[in-house]
Amino acid sequence: MMAICFHGDPIMRYSAFSVFLNALRGNRTWQPAWRSPVPKTHYDVIIIGGGGHGLATAYYLAKEFGITNVAVLEKGYVGSGNVGRNTTIIRSNYLLEGNNPFYELSMKLWEGLEQDFNFNAMVSQRGVLNLYHSDAQRDAYTRRGNAMRLHGVDADLLDRNTVRQMLPFLDFDNARFPIQGALMQKRGGTVRHDAVAWGYARGADMRGVDIIQNCEVTGIRRENGRISGVETSQGFIGCGKLAMAAAGNSTTVADMVDMKLPIESHVLQAFVSEGLKPFIDNVVTFGAGHFYVSQSDKGGLVFGGDIDGYNSYAQRGNLATVEHVAEAGVAMIPALSRVRVLRSWGGIMDMSMDGSPIIDRTPIDNLYLNAGWCYGGFKATPASGFCYAHLIAKNEPHETGRAFRLDRFARGRMIDEKGVGAQPNLH
């Protein structure tokens, strides 16, 4: 049996063979996917936040940079933040120079991720279509698609008939805003979100990273202008470097070192329908309202819309937003009318002032910031972890994440895909 050994116990590799073998033993011999360690008194690196980005950062710190004396502190359970409550879409169809290569790096990492961390996260490149309904939208997608092609990212501009052949159930004949075509990224798709957290957690744990759940950071200790460690619900833990990855709560953590951020917390709702036999194969986004949908491998339609629009730390949204999302859904796919919505939930988004994230050093020498993902953080998980690990390890931004600077607002170098300016609820 294949096994690798990092911290004493042999860890069973996951494979069809291991599933078979364990089945013969009544599935009683699987080991914990990750340990539940008691925190050490000091780590080289502490990462605040055991969500997708924090766990990915720990994984790449260990795997790419050999830094394994690392703790990930999670106030809830592994993956209890936005990695476990999003609409699971991955894509790299970005327009601007600061974003496009970063999200494409993420896409490339997604493409090899499961084999890399030995966990089936069901990366499904089923294609993402963004519908357009006007000449102006078509022109904007032409610009974006060409920007993607300039970076070697796949993009296709589909006309109405092509879209109609692919997705005949969209409203082509009775629509308020007739569909004219779509920008498609075939390599875009979906990933089983929870499995991303679990795969990174297991991969990091196997390499020696301590993942400490139910460990809330309550304070940050500074000595001589540097971070010396964190106060937590499990006591003080010292560190050489402290890395924030607490999107949704970034400003709460930053407040502990009196740092103001260009970020507001907003609630975004997401939804799942009852399980259906295959209904929609791709990811489709509406261009005349806020609605995006895909179908999970379990059969539920997973969909969402716009943020509710007001600052919130409550993981719940408003009924009016629910109605708007449903209206846009039925406008796009009339047959949804009799499909039933099962559940709605809310996640707290780090809405930044230009709609783009921040991966950067901070004015405090050994404190690092990963924040501001708005509602695009899930697809960014691998590249975010990768670039953040690079920044932490080398104290130097990774080439691909170089534009995501904290001082870009002061310098007038915003990365504003939507062009709506410094009002977070518009991004």
Binding site: T251, T252, K260, L261, P262, I263, E264, S265, D308, G309, Y310, N311, S312, Y313, A314, G317, N318, L319, A320, M353, F409, A410, A422, Q423, P424, N425
Partner: protein, 90 residues
Amino acid sequence: MASLIACPHCGPRPKEEFTVRGDAGITRPEPDAGADAWHAYVYLRDNPRGRHREHWHHTSGCRRWLIVERDTVTHAIYSAVDAAATGETA
């Protein structure tokens, strides 16, 4: 977010009649206040967990800008007053 906002001019009205702009705790600096002050005004936010003063516009009502004090955790609304009533401090 509360489903109703008590507009000081129109009484309790559905939230959907209003448009939220954001933090009302920031004050537009003097023209010559300097780059840091302007950067802070345009880009930096307290983003508190709890009480938060915000600008809301009664767009489909009296069209007045209000300062609504609201809790970002419980979503309770404490008060809503006309923005102009607070003087030139927004």
